[in-house]
């Protein structure tokens, strides 16, 4: 009679920063250092789990994922610094920004704990809310309503409007191009041994976000030796040469973050 149910228990994180902090600090007691690669893998695995559990993977999660993957790709690219110094600087800035966001997050968590303590201790002290004695003939307090009919209507409008969370971020989810898709497409575009440049490979793209996805794809393919990328000096075109033929199936799954993308 008793129906056996299996419950998949996974902590639900309120956002990507909370998830990242948890991943990083849960490793703090381990001897081996948490590498960026591990971090990316775990982060992406968690997003995967969230999707399996039908939890919404919001665009914030994906934006951070893309930053992490970029950082990882950059750190693994052979002869780092050869591609583009500007890119390097940009990436360094991205990393510092991410770190400072994590720090700020921890800082405000600490403040929140103090607030919680103070709020709960002052809750034990009750102020009187009854006002003046009824049997006292007081002049009516000089009431300043401060609003007219129009303002009152505006207030009503606001109060009656149900709170809709994450309303204006939805479009980002749909817009974020899939790096996995870009990797597949890039490989298709590299024919034979012909050297070509990145600009040509991405000439058909219209949106900057897509170009970023292709750049990520390029870095990742280079990391796995599926192509070679080089750049003579900052500002010069990035030259791309096909190379090797290792399977990219595993990689693709790691990058396949596109929430609505599967079929």
């Amino acid at each position: 009679m008793a129906v056996m149910t299996f419950e998949v228990r996974s902590p639900v994180f309120e956002g990507p920063l909370a998830l990242l902090l948890d991943l990083i600090t849960s490793h703090r007691l381990e001897v081996t250092e948490l590498s960026l690669s591990d971090l990316v893998t775990e982060y992406v695995a968690h997003l995967d789990l969230m999707r399996h559990m039908d939890l919404e993977v919001t665009s914030e999660f994906l934006v951070i994922a893309s930053t992490l993957i970029q950082l990882k790709a950059r750190s693994l690219l052979p002869g780092a610094g050869g591609v583009d110094l500007d890119e390097d600087l940009l990436l360094t800035e991205e990393r510092d920004r991410l770190l400072s966001r994590l720090l700020a997050n921890l800082t405000f968590r600490d403040v929140a704990a103090v607030f919680a303590h103070r709020l709960s201790s002052s809750e034990l002290m009750v102020g009187r809310e009854v006002g003046f004695d009824a049997d006292v003939e007081l002049p009516m307090p000089p009431l300043h309503l401060g609003v007219g009919p129009v303002e009152l209507a505006a207030l009503a409008e606001r109060v009656f409007t149900p709170v809709v969370v994450e309303s204006d971020l939805d479009h980002l989810d749909l817009d974020l191009p899939s790096v996995g898709e870009a990797m597949r497409d890039l490989r298709g575009r590299l024919v034979g041994d012909l050297e070509t440049d990145f600009e040509r490979l991405t000439g058909h793209l219209t949106r900057p976000a897509e170009v970023i996805a292709y750049f990520l794809a390029l870095l990742e393919l280079a990391r796995w030796g599926l192509l070679r990328a080089s750049q003579d000096d900052p500002g010069a075109p990035i030259m791309v040469t096909p190379g090797g033929s290792a399977s990219s199936e595993i990689l693709v799954s790691e990058f396949d973050l596109d929430p609505g993308g599967a079929e």
Binding site: V130, V136, L138, P141, L143, A153, A156
Partner: protein, 192 residues
């Protein structure tokens, strides 16, 4: 005595006279000791010349402000800070205005927080009134706006309230809305 202190605290927050039975329960004391504590509290207040007096009324006990101090209270009542409606009160007023007759539970549902206090404030200012009882078994009071409300808003009737729905609050309106909530009163009160 801790019992006297607890007694004072209960009477301080109570809205209505509290019966000896209720006090006995809240203080976990037999009725005889409740009466002793009441007498002690009354004496303590008188002894130190407190601004409060303990009086028996309507089947219970209650703390009151001393009548000879009422001139001070009147002056306090006339100070600008007391006449300012909180945002909670204004929100509640907006809900009552558009949803009347409405129960406290319905108001609280819309606002997402208990709104008893806000309703009481509005009632005290004469802006809303109890206009009936909910037909449901609970028999909750239903609130509606008053003539004072219409007068303060310069409306002839409730039909003059701007319709909802086609009203989008633009930035200017919001700006106006902020005004009553800013400490613009003769300065002194928001500084430490």
């Amino acid at each position: 005595m801790s019992a006297v202190a607890a007694l004072e605290a209960i009477l301080f927050v109570a809205e209505h006279p509290v019966s000896e039975g209720e006090l006995s329960q809240a203080l976990d004391l037999p009725p005889g000791e409740v009466r002793t504590a009441l007498a002690q509290l009354g004496d303590a207040l008188a002894e130190r010349g407190s601004g409060l007096v303990l009086r028996e009324a309507a089947g219970g006990w209650r703390l009151y402000t001393r009548p000879d101090l009422h001139p001070h209270l009147e002056r306090y009542a006339a100070s600008p800070g007391t006449g300012r409606l909180s945002r909670a009160a204004l929100e509640t007023l907006a809900i009552v205005a558009y949803k009347q007759p409405v129960s406290r539970g319905q108001v609280s549902d819309v606002r997402g927080v208990d709104s008893e206090q806000a309703l009481r404030t509005l009632e005290r200012h004469g802006l809303i009134d109890q206009v009936g009882v909910s037909p449901g078994s609970a028999g909750a009071h239903l609130y509606g706006t008053t003539d004072v409300f219409l007068e303060k808003l310069g409306l002839r009737s409730l039909e003059d309230l701007p319709p909802l729905g086609d009203h989008v609050p633009g930035p200017e309106t919001v700006e106006v809305l902020e005004r009553p909530f800013r400490p613009e009163e003769p300065s002194s009160d928001s500084r430490s």
